[in-house]
């Protein structure tokens, strides 16, 4: 695949996700697959910085009346989701806009990389409690990045009870056997 793109800033509300009804292994891949259930977990500054470093890959939607001037997100959908809940619809974010022609297979591969490969290779094998401890190692840094800082807020963002953040719980909430 030869991927050509240009970098620019664009209003958040002009982006939309790929057609969820298209077939594929990640069709209907939802939020429940992610650690954090609450998409509004990061501070706007952290999100903007993250997007600057990892711009979303988008491609224009062919002009079809109502969808005029809209773009489809083909890589970075999780970041797009976090941005949608943390930023204003009119805020501008960094994006890479595809300028080359992509086949359906190319798009399919990019979505596969975005949804399955990237999260898998960068995921940590730690429990909720440990994760919370790692995040809060540097309080100042955590406050700049996370909207939820207390244990209760974190538990809520994980969609779990607070007891899961207790030290006896291991990776992904499994109890650590002594």
């Amino acid at each position: 695949m030869e991927l050509a793109y240009s970098r620019s800033e664009i209003e958040l509300k002009k982006l939309k996700l790929c057609d969820e009804s298209s077939p594929g292994v990640f069709s209907g891949f939802e939020k429940r697959r992610f650690y954090f259930k609450d998409p509004a977990i990061l501070t706007p500054d952290a999100i903007l910085l993250l997007l600057q470093l990892n711009p979303i890959l988008i491609m224009p939607i062919p002009d079809k009346g109502r969808e005029k001037d809209l773009y489809r997100v083909i890589f970075g959908r999780r970041l797009f989701e976090l941005a949608a809940f943390s930023l204003k619809p009119t805020d501008e974010i960094f994006v890479n806009t595809v300028t080359s022609t992509l086949s359906t297979e190319d798009i399919h591969q990019l979505k596969y990389l975005d949804t399955i490969v990237a999260p898998t290779v960068v995921s940590l094998d730690v429990g909720y409690s440990e994760l919370y401890d790692i995040i809060n190692t540097d309080t100042l840094l955590a406050e700049k990045t996370w909207l939820a800082t207390s244990k209760a807020e974190f538990a809520k963002a994980f969609g779990k009870s607070r007891s899961l953040l207790s030290p006896q719980h291991g990776a992904h909430g499994k109890k650590v056997s002594e």
């Binding site: 509300k13 939309k16 939020k31 949608a84 809940f85 619809p89």
Partner: protein
């Protein structure tokens, strides 16, 4: 102007003295008077010598002209006698001067003539006085022939006018004026082209036609030729060719413009020449073309008289154009109207003394036989009684009927009688003016006829009593009844110290109901059916219960009759059914609203339960929940049917509960109003906001654009940032549907809300009044305040404290209807 005014008596005396001076030579006083009548000389006798001198010459030409025509006019028999009279007068001029000093005195000026002020009443005489200044024999001869023609056509026109009862004064005057002008220096070119020798009448007329029709591009010449139009028109009359008809007032006037010079200024001084356009009922194409050539299109088509000066100078209006005079008059009229506004409302209300006088007058009329101005006195009494006790319009009263079936009466006022002393007015219910006619709703309603009125009305019904069909009571034209009642009131005003007149009597009940406790203009309009400018908007939104209308009418009758008369008795088989609204047909019944609220809340609860298990009902829940929030806000605030009726953050003061509604308004907030939000409304707005927060993730995975739009803080058409995201519906394609009146109507139908979108305003105004909320407060709440009662106005008589306190009745109303804050999911 400084015209010398001579009274007709003085003028007659002078002429009598003239006759007595020549009586020895000329005995026939009748001929003398005929001559005077024919030529109608100006009243100043010193002009007569010159007229007589001219007439002798004119008569010679006239004789010659008549000899060439087959026709012999009626005046021809006197012509010789008139000539000899003139000759005698001239021969005895010096003697007459002795009897009548100044008789031979020279005229003030030769040109222009001193008699332009006499053209209205002495036009021919004034025209015969003139001679061209130029002494050319041709001109002198031409002019005398012209005067002879004028003499002939004027006398013929006068004869025709007498026979056919036409008014040709204006035409005669214009023709004479034209002849007068032709003696002036500016018109010699025309005078030269007129026949010099003797010719017949028809030849002369053809010559005038040629002068008029002949092409000429010189504006001055065209203008001067136009002076002949009136003369030619008069010749047409004399020849019986012109169509002189009296104008039918019902038909629009077919107008063309004729221009003639008009002199303004004092006698003997410099004149200002104006051109005046007047209008004739003539469609002569030649004239029209001539006039069109001289006027601009606007001037030509303007349906008003205009004067425009060609030369600057003094004019009788003091230098004002007609338009300026009109504006000045309008200003004065406005000023007077403003002053009249100070006259109290009570000017239209009769004093108890007047009322007693009027009621006694009706009783007296009953006892008297005969008629007044062609109207039977009993009939007139019945007419006046119905008019007084219903306050309905004269047309309604004149068309009132006696109906055997109360529910099938078609007239605006029908009288349904059970027995002599148990009559009912069946009054057609007045409805607000709407774009579409409503078929449902109350058509007419009964009001018991007061006993005192029944006694007057019944005698007029005796002849038609018991007829199986609806029968008209009165048979004359409305104007006749009005004239007769006016005559009666005039007599009454002359004989008694009274302010009675037709208008006051007809409107008394209306004004009385307006000021009764617990009543307002809408109630008065419901009874009288009158259009009251003060209550037109209020009436649109208000429904008065029939029971309240009856009760108010009873109070009014008690107020009128007082201890002197019996009050109306409502008992008996009064044709009443349920208790409908009179007035606005869009006031929902409270039970219906409570039922709808209950139904909506049940539906919300059901959907909420199902959403726990499946998200299938998400759209349905959202739409019902949005409808509930919209309606709750509308029924708490009286919001109009506008786009996105949700309050902005800056528009709510949470400490006091007051909020600004800026519907039907502009960017300047000029028409904004302050309402008080019941706590349940504030809470529901907060709940809806919380609900949208929860709805966000659901929307994001379905439609990102809908998700973003639900988080938009700037809504098109609104000004500031809002605390809550806007209201919106979701359609089956998971697309946003704005809350606009048309969409709202559709979604409200889904929850069986059968009323118009703005029925909340009808409901609130009507029910707040029923809850005894003061009228001023309700009007301010609805945005219909009167001057001086603006909420928070600098000099307003409405206290914010009173406003807030009285609006607590709104909280009761909302609570009783079952509105509660509903959480989302």
């Amino acid at each position: 102007m400084s015209a010398q005014v001579i009274s007709p008596e003085d003028a007659n005396k002078r002429w009598d003295r003239l006759f007595s001076s020549v009586q020895n030579e000329f005995h026939d006083h009748a001929i003398f008077n005929t001559f005077r009548e024919f030529i109608a000389p100006p009243p100043r006798l010193n002009c007569f010598t010159r007229i007589a001198e001219n007439f002798i010459q004119i008569a010679g030409f006239l004789d010659s002209i008549l000899s060439k025509s087959d026709y012999e006019p009626s005046y021809a028999v006197n012509l010789n006698a008139w000539v000899s009279l003139c000759e005698i007068v001239l021969s005895k001029a010096q003697e007459i001067e002795h009897d009548i000093p100044g008789f031979t005195a020279p005229d003030e000026t030769d040109s222009p003539p001193p008699y332009h002020g006499y053209y209205g009443s002495h036009s021919l005489g004034a025209a015969l006085w003139f001679s061209p200044i130029n002494t050319s024999k041709t001109l002198q001869s031409n002019y005398r022939i012209l005067q002879a023609i004028l003499f002939h056509v004027v006398t013929e026109a006068k004869t025709q006018a007498d026979e056919e009862e036409l008014n040709l004064d204006s035409q005669i005057s214009k023709a004479c004026l034209a002849v007068r002008k032709l003696s002036g220096l500016d018109y010699y070119h025309i005078l030269y082209s007129l026949p010099a020798g003797s010719c017949s009448l028809s030849e002369y007329r053809e010559c005038i036609d040629e002068q008029i029709v002949g092409e000429c591009r010189d504006k001055q010449i065209v203008e001067s030729k136009s002076t002949l139009y009136s003369l030619r028109y008069l010749t047409e009359i004399a020849f019986g060719e012109a169509k002189v008809t009296t104008r039918d007032k019902s038909k629009p006037k077919s107008m063309i413009t004729e221009i003639y010079p008009l002199e303004v200024g004092d006698d003997g001084r410099s004149k200002t020449t104006c051109r005046k356009s007047a209008y004739l009922t003539d469609t002569d194409e030649i004239k029209t073309e001539r006039i069109r050539a001289q006027l601009t299109d606007i001037e030509f088509t303007e349906p008003r008289e205009v004067i425009y000066c060609e030369v600057e100078g003094k004019d009788p209006s003091g230098g004002l154009s007609v338009a300026q005079q009109y504006l000045k008059a309008k200003g004065a009229q406005k000023s007077i109207a403003m002053d009249n506004q100070r006259l109290p409302f009570a000017m239209g209300i009769l004093a108890p003394h007047d009322i007693n006088l009027f009621l006694d007058l009706l009783d007296v009329l009953l006892k008297e036989s005969g008629s007044l101005l062609g109207i039977d006195r009993k009939e007139l009494a019945a007419f006046m009684a119905i008019s007084f006790w219903t306050s309905r319009s004269v047309d309604d009263v004149v068309n009132s009927t006696l109906t055997p079936e109360y529910d099938k009466a078609r007239a605006n006022i029908a009288i349904y009688g059970v027995k002599k002393d148990e009559l009912y007015f069946m009054l057609k219910a007045k409805e607000p003016e709407l774009k579409t006619e409503r078929e449902d709703g109350i058509r007419s309603y009964p009001l018991p006829v007061p006993v005192r009125a029944a006694n007057v009305i019944y005698p007029c019904l005796e002849n038609i009593w018991g007829k199986p069909v609806e029968t008209k009571i009165f048979h004359h034209e409305p104007e006749k009844y009005e004239t007769a009642s006016d005559r009666l009131f005039t007599i009454l005003r002359d004989n008694d110290d009274s302010r009675l007149n037709s208008s006051r009597v007809q409107q008394h009940l209306h004004h009385l109901v307006c000021r009764l406790p617990g009543s307002d203009t809408t109630m008065a309009m419901a009874i009288s059916g009158r259009d009251d400018i003060v209550g037109k908007v209020h009436f649109h939104y208000t429904g008065n219960r029939l029971s309240a209308v009856k009760s108010t009418y009873r109070c009014a009758v008690d107020e009128i009759c007082g201890p002197l008369g019996k009050s109306v008795d409502e008992s008996g088989p009064a044709p009443t059914g349920d208790d409908p609204f009179v007035g606005s047909g869009f006031v929902p019944e409270r039970e219906k609203i409570a039922e709808i609220v209950k139904k909506m809340r049940t539906k919300i609860a059901e959907c909420r339960r199902e959403l726990v298990v499946s998200s299938d009902k998400l759209i349905e829940f959202h739409n019902v929940y949005t409808s509930y929030t919209v309606l709750l806000t509308g029924f708490c605030t009286g919001y109009r049917a506008v786009h996105d009726p949700l309050l902005l953050n800056a528009e709510i003061d949470r400490a006091s509960g007051f909020a600004v509604i800026s519907d039907k308004d502009g960017n300047d907030f000029y028409n904004s109003r302050i309402v008080w939000l019941p706590p349940v409304c504030l809470l529901q707005l907060k709940r809806y906001s919380e609900y949208l927060e929860h709805l966000g993730p659901e929307l994001f995975w379905r439609n990102q654009q809908l998700f973003f739009s639900s988080r938009e803080e700037e809504i098109p058409g609104r000004r500031s940032e809002r605390a809550y995201p806007g209201l919106f519906y979701i359609d089956q394609n998971i697309d946003r549907v704005d809350v606009r009146p048309r969409n709202l109507e559709k979604y409200l139908m889904e929850i069986d809300f059968p009323f118009p979108v703005n029925s909340n305003r009808h409901y609130l105004r009507t029910n707040l009044l029923i809850k005894k909320c003061p009228l001023e407060v309700v009007n301010a709440f609805m945005g219909h305040w009167e001057m001086g009662l603006e909420p928070w106005g600098m000099f307003s008589g409405l206290s914010p404290d009173t406003y807030r306190r009285e609006l607590s009745k709104l909280e009761d109303l909302v609570h009783e209807d079952g509105w509660r804050d509903e959480i989302g999911f």
